[in-house]
């Protein structure tokens, strides 16, 4: 047992780092904290070093945790099927403020359309006469969910119950494309910050 393992300063530092690593898988957090603890113990045993200087060599615990978190997040986002994880990874993978705003807006726009399509499919089951793909002569095609304006004057419903599988499928396709574009972006970002084998595909070593 090393003095560094029970020192309140060390415990406080590691607690701050651990807290700032939230969102990472528990196993990765434990592994990182254990390694930092080992480093502190090694450093503090060196001549001319003590616990304080060992901790200073690691820098601010929150900033250190952010580096772990950023890498971990983009790595998981590259492989994940979860829109939330991909979204967080996308924001992390976009360096400039304007780029982050654009990426966020496009991603949200994609999912608003996914939500609209899936809502239409669901509502069609409960209010079949009020949801549909309507054609109004002289106007454009419109897919509408607003009950009190339906059916549109002079409008003709085109696909009937086919709207349910059609909207589900189209929504899924849009969800897939939105995620894939975001993951392609994240992949490019990760390849740019590391010496990555160009032949390596997505998700090497990721889980």
């Amino acid at each position: 047992m090393n003095a560094a393992t029970e020192n309140p300063q060390v415990e406080n530092y590691l607690a701050q780092a651990r807290a700032a690593m939230r969102g990472m898988p528990e196993g990765d957090v434990e592994d990182a904290v254990r390694e930092l603890r080992s480093h502190i113990a090694d450093m503090s045993e060196q001549e001319g070093y003590d616990i304080g200087s060992a901790l200073r060599s690691l820098g601010d615990p929150v900033e250190l945790a952010k580096k772990y978190r950023a890498d971990n997040l983009t790595m998981r986002a590259e492989c994940s099927g979860s829109p939330l994880v991909v979204f967080q990874g996308l924001r992390q993978a976009t360096r400039s403020r304007s780029g982050r705003f654009t990426a966020t807006a496009l991603y949200i726009f994609g999912y608003i359309n996914v939500f609209t399509l899936w809502s239409a499919a669901l509502e069609k089951l409960f209010a079949p006469s009020k949801v549909g793909l309507w054609y109004v002569p002289g106007r454009i095609f419109s897919l509408t969910l607003v009950n009190n304006t339906i059916p549109p004057d002079g409008g003709r419903e085109l696909i009937g119950w086919w709207l349910v599988p059609g909207a589900v499928l189209l929504g899924w396709l849009l969800h897939y494309i939105t995620n894939k574009i975001a993951q392609w972006w994240i992949h490019r970002y990760r390849a740019s910050i590391q010496s990555r084998d160009p032949e390596m595909g997505f998700c090497i070593g990721g889980s």
């Binding site: 047992m1 090393n2 560094a4 393992t5 990765d28 592994d31 990182a32 254990r34 390694e35 930092l36 603890r37 080992s38 480093h39 113990a41 090694d42 450093m43 045993e45 060599s57 690691l58 820098g59 900033e63 250190l64 580096k67 772990y68 890498d71 971990n72 790595m75 590391q194 010496s195 990555r196 084998d197 390596m200 090497i204 070593g205 990721g206």
Partner: protein, 128 residues
């Protein structure tokens, strides 16, 4: 904004930035070099980089980088209980890491040979 000294040489801050970028670009290759024939733990890698290549890397840069290379399948690690009284995490190159290290070394060799040719007049000047 870039600042140029009256003599026309770049201000020290620009040279510092250039050197930082250069070192940053070499760091992974140097780490692969350290781990080519040994398994090492974090602090050993830091010491090896410092003594063999003058690449002084901070712990706050090294550990997240090791974690990333491991996640990318280029390094693998194991915890070893040591006589020191605490376990240490040792890293070694995976087969994918060794392939990558060789690719980088070839690329480095070609690149440095080319740049050295271009720089030969400058180097003569520096040697004077």
């Amino acid at each position: 904004m870039a600042t140029i000294s009256p003599a026309g040489t770049p201000a020290p801050s620009l040279m510092d930035k250039w050197e930082v970028q250069l070192r940053k670009g070499c760091l992974e290759l140097a780490m692969f070099g350290c781990l080519w024939s040994d398994k090492l733990y974090g602090l050993e890698i830091m010491r090896r980089l410092q003594s063999d290549s003058d690449l002084a890397v901070s712990a706050s840069t090294l550990y997240p980088l090791l974690a990333r290379l491991k996640a990318d399948g280029l390094l693998e690690s194991e915890w070893v209980e040591e006589e020191a009284g605490h376990p240490r995490k040792y890293y070694r190159l995976t087969p994918a890491g060794r392939r990558r290290a060789l690719q980088m070394a070839r690329m480095w060799s070609r690149f440095s040979a080319t740049i050295e040719d271009l720089m030969s007049p400058l180097l003569k000047e520096v040697a004077r």
